[in-house]
Every structure is written in C-alpha cells, then in structure tokens.
Symmetry: C2
Subunit: 329 residues, 2 copies
Amino acid sequence: MKKLINSVETLLDESLRGFALAHADIVRFSPDPRYLARLAPRKPGKVALISGGGSGHEPLHSGFVGLGMLDAACPGQVFTSPTPDQMLAAAMDMENGGGILFVVKNYAGDMMNFEIAGEMLDFPNASLLVHDDVSIPEHQGMGRRGVAGTTIVEKIVGAAAEAGLGLDDCKALGERVVRATASMGVALTSCTVPALGKPTFDIAENEIELGVGIHGEKGRERVGLLNASEIVERLAQTINEELKPAKGQPVLLHVNGFGATPLIELYLVYNLARQYWDSRGVVVTRSLVGNFTTSLDMAGASITLTLLDDELTRHWDAPVHTAALRWGC
Amino acid sequence: MKKLINSVETLLDESLRGFALAHADIVRFSPDPRYLARLAPRKPGKVALISGGGSGHEPLHSGFVGLGMLDAACPGQVFTSPTPDQMLAAAMDMENGGGILFVVKNYAGDMMNFEIAGEMLDFPNASLLVHDDVSIPEHQGMGRRGVAGTTIVEKIVGAAAEAGLGLDDCKALGERVVRATASMGVALTSCTVPALGKPTFDIAENEIELGVGIHGEKGRERVGLLNASEIVERLAQTINEELKPAKGQPVLLHVNGFGATPLIELYLVYNLARQYWDSRGVVVTRSLVGNFTTSLDMAGASITLTLLDDELTRHWDAPVHTAALRWGC
C-alpha cells in the first residue's frame, strides 16, 4: 500500500487539520469530539443541517459545510461511522432555535449512531435518510444504500434551511428529493482502506463491478469489461426504470467519480448519459460532473438523476459557499 | 487497461462534447479544429488569453476557460501538443482588439506549435512561458517543465486581462508570477495513457518518484517509500531554496493532486506543507487544494508556492467563473 500518510492512527486528524486551515474562511474544526462547523452567520431560527459518516468519501460531507448547505459535518474514521458524541456536540453547538435535521446515509452504523444522538438531544430534531442506490432492490436486507445522491439532497435541503423553511418542511422536502433521486455506479478497481492495507475486494483486469457501493460493497453484477457506452446504458436504464421520467421532464444529471477516474473519462460518461436522456425527450437542465462522493482511490463512476421542479431547481441554484461547491456568492 | 472509454480514437471528442454540454453556460466547443471558447461577454480591447496543451491534465486548461481566466483553450490528444491550426482558429475567434497572449507550458511541442501560430497571426500576440518545476536545474536540457503553477499563472493573468491590462503588461505580470512560483511533485504510481494501454513507467510497490513530471517524466530521484512528513519536507525544502521567502512574506500554497490520490491525503499534505512554512514565519494567505493539474490516473501530488504581493493577491481574489474555479460571481 502506497499512500501519502504518516500513520493510520493520525491520518484523519492530520487531514482535518489541513482542511480547516485551507478553508479557514468557511469552517472551524472542533477536534474532540470531531466535527466541522460553518462560520457563516445564520439567521435566528434557521434549522441546523448536520450530516456525517465515515471518512474517505471527500469532499462529502466536510466539503459541503458552509453557507447554503451543511451547518456541520461529523467525520468518522475511514469507512467507519462517527460516534453519537460527535453528532451530539455538533448539534448542541449549531442549534439555533430551529431544531436539527440530521442527513443520514442508509448504513446500519450511521443510522444507529445518529438515532442515539437524536434521542439524547432535548430540543427538536429529526433525521432524513438518503437511500438512492437503485442497484439494490428496495426491500432487500438493509435496503438501498445512500450514495452520490447525498450531494443533491444536502444542497437542496441546505438552501431550503437557509431560506427559512422549518424543521418538518425541510425533512419533507428532503424526502421528496430522495424519492426523486436515483443513482448507480460501476467500479473498475477496488479501493484500499489504509487500516487494512490491501484492496477491499479482488477484481480481475478484465472485469468490472456494476452497482458497486461506495465502500466497495458487492454490486448487482460482476461482468466482463464493457465499453463506456455499454456501461452507461446499463446504469442509465436501471435509473430510468426507477424514476420513469416523462418526456419534457426537467432533471439534474450528476456524474460522480469514485476518486481515481480522470475527468476526461467522467465527461465522456456525462456525454453518453446525456445522449441517453436527450434521446428520450428528458430535459437535462442542471448538471454536476466531478469527484464528490468518492471511495478513496477506487476507479469508477456513478450516475445520479434527480427529477426537478421549480422549487427544487430554485434551491439547487441558490447561493452556496463551501469548500467543494461554490456559486452565487 | 480498464478505462471508461469507447475507443482511443473517439475519447477526446466524446469527452469535450460532454464538457461543453455540462458547462453550456460557460463555454462553447468548436470541434474542427478543436478549441473551447468562453461565452462571457468581453470588453472591447481586452487581451485574449489562450492556452492549451495535451489532454489528460483536466481540469487544466479546459476547466479554466471563462470569465476572469482563459478566453480559450486548445486541447491536444492525450499528452500530445495541440496543432497550430487550433491556436490559430481560437486566436482569430477570440481576438477582441487587445491582441492575444498565449500561455504555454515549457514542452518542446507546445512551444513550437504556439510559436508557429503566433507567426501566422497578423495582429499583436505574445507568449508567456510557464516553467515552474524546480525539481529540474534551470538550465538543464529543455529547462524546467510547466506544471501545477500554470493554474496560478492563468488565474492571475486572466484577472489582469479582465481588468483591462494591455498585452505587454499582461505578459510582464505573467513573467513575474512565473518567477514567483515554484512547484515539485511526487508520484506513487504511474499513469496509463489510453493509446499506449500500459503504465508509462514501472515503479515498485516500495518506491516513489520525487520530482516527477506531469506526463510521468523521470524525476529528480527514485527513492524507497517515505512517509508523508518526509516527502513534504523534501518537496517543500527544494521549493523553499528556490524562492527563499523572507519571514512575513505572504504566499499562496497550492497542493495539487495528480488524479488518483484522495482528498483526505491531499489535505494531509497541505497540513504538513503549512507547518513547514508556518514554522519559518512565511504567511500562507491564500490556499488551493485539489486536483487541478492532473496526470490521468497517476497517484501522487505536487506542492506549489507563489510569493504574493498586493497586486497578485488582488488578481487572485478577483471574480472567476469557470468549470473548475468559481468565486466572486
């Protein structure tokens, strides 16, 4: 294993310290328990939006802390849930009279720990569950994983909270975005978790994993190497069957890299996904291409589609000022 | 070789088409000869800033086309210089009464082709050479390569051109930025050029290449695996010996990923580089961390330092609206 680290034990704190120094105009870092909090002033009564999860998916969630998106993010160790004391400390710090909305990706550890934190809080709070990975049938096992659609959910609900929506309305809006969002990914290689020191899974030089999870979880199908058109067709078709966008439906198309796939390939995937929906009369009105929900050094990408309406589009377009997304301010 | 492509022949055009579709509010793509041009309106007499080079380094240069940075970018095939007809077409399209400034990284093919294009133009034009890779002695062979400092040069000169500086002044300012900028990188793995189908160079599981070029060119030294602190010490020291920043000197610190290195590691590298200069009383006033000058799927990173003054800081902070850098508008 070759990585730019000093030790598995200090990796997370060294990295978070660097992040907080590089973005000292946007966030502050509380080291014990660990969370990143936004610096931008907030209107009294604004719902505080807090997320978190295992590290190794950066810029998710730390890169989304700031005006118009998250109030705080709680980073766990690599691919490991943060602990309830982190969410509790972040919530008590960020509570601003409007209650707390936790954005939780659908993984057992994350759900349990956010739930424990919520129960310990003595002010209003709620959880919004993200489960956009349509490679998995909806009611199988733990259900669908939260993957790259999380970026879309956090941006839209973040804008709504900034605009003054209350806790129940933010949660309802978020659930609407989750229902309107579907993602599916493909892995070309495994990732390597530093503490493990070797690839999470084995995959041959002529194989790919369709429907892979963002921690290298088994996908829907292991198949022989396909070209980009064939891969995009499989991902887009699964997403399309789920969301069934009508002709003329405005959508947001997000192509997300898992970390080691160059932008030249991500834009090629975008071009193919765009052709897929253009040819069906679905209208891509908003786009996001890049590495946003990563899996350390995994090669591969995912496609996410969100059905838009005027309200969601307005919140997507609203000003955001974070390390990873910035526009309108 | 596993890549999200259809064929080596169509990769570039498919990707550029995707890029232009995803950023249709910022750029337009001219396919034959290939260049990307900004859409933002320009004041009459504004110097047109045009760059280009081999593809595979994205977001450099395509991601830097737009208000406050480049007027156009000419992408060659992967790691291959663009041809003079591309620069010529882009220049004739973008000439706006202020002449053309070509920003050229120091590689033989790029220099030759930009020079040919400049000679064929019948309006004022000049070239600005970027050669910030201090891993190479200044007068050895072709001299120093243009690497990640290019982002800094294009941002600062782009802002100056937008502010109305003339051709000679933009070139002089750019040369001042180049002199004030030094970069050095480290590769943990090779990259794989699609047309070649195998890694550009061999490197053992316990070796790293200090001072590597952005096409996988041989660096200063092949050494056994070092930890991040040792690596950053070597890079920072070489840069520091070159620029000799005084105590109290304001600087811009840029940690650039080569493509396959996760953000969690890049921020850790930033933290260590920051410690290096903080401890010497050098004042990091501006920062940029992320994948900006990449080498396809190479794992590794580079550090770039630019000595700032009020003028350079003002141009760095000026509004920019491109696919890869956006603030202030």
